[in-house]
């Protein structure tokens, strides 16, 4: 139908135009897939399977134009886009596309009602024989419908309007504690049935020396399932108790923005941005919770049964740029961002505990300058400074002050080479407030905790890169970056992150014979954290300098992530413009480990453990190898044929998933009813493609 509309439009345009261009190309691809292992990981964002894939491109171009593209027709990645308009007057687009996200296929659960908001099971306890469980797939898919138009004919004014709807459907894994504390964990297949509608209208005026624009952005999120009701196998009255997991609430969001710019003397320009937004939600709160008590339900007293969420933001940006003399570029800026939480404050009382939600808000004031100096000897120096002050409604660190200094130097003294070096220093001050509690209060431990997101730190980043093009057909580049972060005041928590990155790239063109490209990347990141283990209900021994006992002691973990990837690609023009052979190989590897240390003093390690046998050697370790060989034959100017073979192998090993058990235990803190989410991610696949493309 859509195609027919396009063709109709084209026919109309044909009659209006006196000179035009019409292009059509149609591609049909047959695919054969042979796969062993995890099909979901292989097709995480793809839909490669046995079948025929179609791609169509239609273009009509004259005073009016229509450009239609469709690909992967009928598959989970199908996408369609029609653009059109009248040159210099207006343009529009309509599109539809799908994005799958596959997590794990063939997962299992003892629950019935999967993909609905009610999960139940018969009998008690649930069967531990996973052969009796139902199977399903963890997968979500986004379907996006969009359209928009823009008017250029009213220059210097303009108007742009876009509208879209995204439907997101599927099943996603979320876990809950059966009871707390100390209970089993239950993995639940959660239904995803979201719709997000968005509208953006922007109008403005743009003619030197002035730019003005006003825009309105609106987004409405609607979730079909506000709660997931599930029979909790861990509670006392298991026959009748239905527990509830709350799901994302519906929300409405709108934002009004004004942008402006004005050219000033001395080759300068002043830009500003003023914006305000509001996000709201309305939620009927649960007046009970489920616990391991007779009857299963515990009443919850609420100061208000409905939560009205309201988050307001304001953003102001002022930027002055200037190029007053040829050797100087400058920019000074100020930005203010504020998040105000005007939601309801609600007090709840349950199980003898009174809690009131905190309304988190913050504001940031950021100002700074950047200057670029064109120096003799083909040197270009860019220096920058900015200061950010953050105030937040948070007890531990209400204020941060960041100072960021940067300097970048580029030298391009030789025609064939550019060298860049850069340095950035971030110094963060944090106003830490220790909790005002007695030393025997469990909260006292936070006297020693500095949370990494706000903790004081010094971060130094060094980078250097060299780009060399000794001949027109050879490019070579090499780069290195070192980034070290020292969380200098941290007693307990993340103390240090050190990172090194290294990249090499090269490409070479052998005249009309071949084009070669190769790359190599290496990255090593090390994390060091220091913690203190304390037993549940501890009332002493919080200070990490306290001599250790078997129950209260310090420990640390050193994580290492090493990743590298390399690739090689060659386009070999066996018969120039007629027959091309493409070869490609990519290799990606990650190797992670964790080195633990118990700081127990003279106390022995728990039975069976030593400082060496506790370490983890497979911490998100994976290898992805892929090989592709492809031949493209342009039989005529209109007809081309291609054939390709792809081999892809992914091996994955991780201490948290290796030896996966659906029900490792049915009670206690080893207890779990899992569904197999993210289990056994390795796969090996062979894919053969055969394509024919015809251009009319």
């Amino acid at each position: 139908m859509l195609l027919a509309m396009i063709l109709f439009s084209m026919s109309v345009s044909y009659s209006l135009a006196y000179e035009y261009r019409l292009e059509t190309d149609i591609e049909l691809t047959g695919e054969l897939l042979d796969i062993e292992g995890n099909k979901a990981k292989f097709n995480e964002y793809r839909d490669i399977r046995d079948g025929l894939y179609g791609r169509i491109h239609l273009l009509y171009d004259s005073n009016y134009y229509f450009d239609f593209n469709a690909a992967d027709i009928g598959y989970d990645t199908q996408n369609y886009r029609l653009e059109g308009g009248k040159w210099g007057s207006f343009k529009f687009y309509l599109d539809y596309f799908e994005i799958p996200h596959n997590f794990t296929f063939g997962t299992r659960s003892f629950y019935s009602g999967i993909s609905t908001e009610n999960l139940s099971f018969k009998g008690f306890p649930p069967s531990t024989d996973i052969g009796t469980w139902s199977t399903f797939d963890y997968s979500v898919k986004r379907k996006n419908y969009g359209g928009g138009f823009a008017f250029d004919m009213i220059k210097p004014f303009y108007l742009d309007v876009t509208i879209s709807r995204e439907e997101k459907n599927g099943v996603y894994p979320l876990g809950v504690a059966g009871t707390t504390p100390g209970g089993i964990t239950i993995e639940l297949p959660v239904p995803v049935d979201y719709i997000t509608d968005t509208l953006k209208i922007e109008g403005g005026y743009i003619k030197n020396p002035l730019f003005l624009s006003l825009s309105l952005f609106m987004s409405e999120f609607d979730n079909d399932n506000h709660n997931l009701n599930f029979r909790n196998p861990a509670t006392a009255n298991t026959a009748s108790t239905t527990d509830v997991l709350t799901l994302p609430p519906d929300n409405n969001y709108y934002k009004l923005s004004f942008n402006g710019g004005a050219k000033l003397p001395l080759n300068s320009k002043f830009n500003l941005n003023l914006a305000a937004s509001r996000a709201t939600s309305e939620v009927k709160l649960l007046d009970f919770l489920v616990d391991d008590v007779p009857g299963g339900r515990v009443p919850v007293s609420l100061s208000d049964k409905t939560f009205d969420g309201k988050i307001d933001t304001q953003n102001y940006n002022f930027v002055l740029t200037s190029n007053p003399v040829s050797f100087l570029d400058g920019k000074i800026f100020y930005k203010h961002y504020r998040r105000e939480n005007n939601s309801d404050k609600i007090t709840t009382i349950a199980e003898g505990e009174t809690l009131t939600n905190s309304l988190f808000g913050y504001k940031k004031d950021d100002y700074g300058a950047e200057f670029g100096f064109r120096l003799p000897a083909n040197l270009y120096l860019i220096t920058g400074y900015n200061h950010v002050r953050t105030e937040r409604k948070r007890e531990d660190v209400p204020v941060n002050r960041d100072d960021v200094y940067s300097v970048d130097l580029r030298w391009s003294g030789l025609d064939f080479m550019t060298v860049k070096v850069g340095y950035e220093k971030l110094h963060r001050d944090a106003e830490f407030h220790a909790p005002d509690v007695a030393p025997d209060d469990p909260e006292f431990i936070n006297t020693f905790v500095r949370r990494f997101d706000v903790a004081a730190k010094d971060r130094n980043t060094y980078k250097v890169s060299v780009d060399i093009s000794p001949t027109e057909n050879l490019n070579f580049s090499i780069g290195y970056k070192n980034k070290d972060t020292d969380y200098k005041d941290v007693v307990l928590g993340l103390r240090e992150v050190k990172g090194d990155e290294f990249n090499i790239d090269a490409d070479y063109t052998f005249g009309k014979v071949a084009k070669l490209n190769a790359y190599y990347d290496y990255e090593k990141v090390r994390y060091f954290q220091f913690q203190r283990q304390l037993p549940f209900n501890a009332t002493s021994g919080f200070d990490p300098s306290t001599p250790p006992t078997a129950a209260a002691f310090n420990w640390d973990a050193k994580q290492k992530d090493r990743s590298y990837d390399y690739g090689f690609a060659a386009d070999i023009y066996l018969i120039p413009k007629r027959l091309t052979l493409k070869l490609q190989h990519d290799y990606i590897r990650s190797n992670g480990d964790v080195d633990f240390t118990y700081h127990l003093g003279g106390n022995p390690l728990p039975a069976g453990r030593t400082q060496d046998n506790i370490d983890i050697s497979n911490w998100d370790d994976y290898t992805l190898r892929s090989y592709m060989i492809k031949a493209i034959y342009n039989a005529t100017k209109k007809l081309s044929l291609s054939a390709a073979y792809v081999y892809e192998k992914f091996t994955y090993s991780d201490a948290q998933l290796d030896g996966y058990q659906f029900v490792p235990a049915t009670t206690g803190t080893n207890g779990a009813f899992l569904t197999g989410a993210y289990k056994d991610q390795s796969y090996r696949a062979n894919v053969v493609f055969l394509s024919i493309t015809y251009k009319f």
Binding site: T185, T246, T313, R394, Q656, F696
Partner: protein, 323 residues
């Protein structure tokens, strides 16, 4: 269906009828003589004069043909080069080049021998008055001396006349991002479902790292609107910046996390009991620990604290993001 077939038939007939129609003129080297005899159109650059695009096409037919098909060749657009001096609108007067032909000789060319600023200024002369370039002066690309033609082709190209499709074009400079996007947990960038420009404004804007939003969270919520809340029980680091826990370009760890759980959580939560506990190889599926394993295996802390982005759950179940 009939309409479909009928329309397709029309298309086919039109295609056959118009297939060989070429908009490019047939310029021969003989036209050069006209140029040599031309005394009109002297430019500001001394004695150099405009020769007309027919002369250009006589040697550069492919490029001229592409130019005519491009947006720059549209006479319907009032300010397009097609309504000015076509090739010479950007390359300047061509007389010297005609008399002394050679790659880049006697005309303005877009190559690395010409300062970035001068190359960009050619484009900005027409495109500055467009909303996408309204904030070019604030762009990191501008301050790093990246001219327009590093990414855009004047004559050919894919969408937006880019020299290569995203993300490969961006990766040619941002190699660290390429490396990150190769990692096992990534946004569907390589798969083509999203682009770098879905989140970034390469031609300048007010956002940090040229993102298309006033804050990181605002940007993320455009696609992840379910995370917007507002929730009764908030997790402050989540509300302040998604990047406290996630890396957007790719991670070795699932869900684009900066570190694996439980360490990521324990970096902030050392409270008594299970948050403070050392979870080692003994607490994995294969480990022999008699308790505490469900805080380590599978998704670790997230096995129970699933509503980590915010919750409206009851009482402590909500405040601890358990329901």
């Amino acid at each position: 269906m009939k309409r479909f077939v009928f329309s397709l038939s029309i298309l086919f007939v039109l295609s056959l009828a118009l297939n060989d129609r070429s908009a490019a003129g047939n310029i021969t080297s003989g036209n050069l003589e006209n140029c040599k005899n031309c005394n009109e159109g002297k430019s500001a650059e001394g004695n150099m004069s405009y020769v007309g695009s027919e002369i250009c096409a006589s040697c550069h037919a492919d490029i001229y043909d592409a130019f005519l098909k491009s947006v720059h060749g549209k006479k319907m657009i009032p300010d397009s080069p097609a309504n000015k001096r076509e090739c010479e609108s950007c390359h300047g007067p061509g007389s010297e080049h005609v008399f002394k032909p050679g790659r880049g000789k006697g005309i303005f060319v877009f190559n690395k021998d010409v300062p970035a600023k001068d190359r960009s200024s050619k484009c900005l002369a027409c495109h500055e008055e467009s909303k996408s370039l309204a904030f070019w002066d604030m762009s990191k690309h501008k301050s790093a001396d990246v001219p327009c033609d590093n990414c855009h082709s004047i004559h050919y190209g894919t969408e937006k006349y880019l020299k290569a499709a995203e993300p490969d074009l961006c990766f040619s400079c941002h190699r660290d991002i390429r490396s990150q996007s190769n990692k096992q947990s990534h946004h569907p960038l390589k798969e083509g479902s999203i682009k770098c420009s879905s989140c970034h404004s390469p031609m300048g804007g007010f956002g940090v790292k040229m993102i298309k939003a006033d804050s990181i969270n605002e940007l993320c919520y455009k696609c992840h609107s379910e995370k917007r809340g507002p929730f009764m029980w908030e997790h402050p680091p989540v509300e302040e910046k998604c990047l406290n826990c996630h890396v957007p370009h790719g991670s070795n760890h699932s869900k684009l996390l900066t570190e694996k759980v439980p360490f990521l959580c324990q970096n902030c939560h050392n409270e008594i009991g299970h948050p403070s506990t050392i979870y080692t190889r003994f607490e994995t599926f294969k480990g022999t620990a008699s308790s505490g394993k469900n805080r380590m295996f599978a998704r670790s802390c997230l096995n129970c604290h699933s509503n980590i982005h915010g919750s409206n759950g009851p009482s402590a179940r909500g405040s601890h993001w358990l329901r």
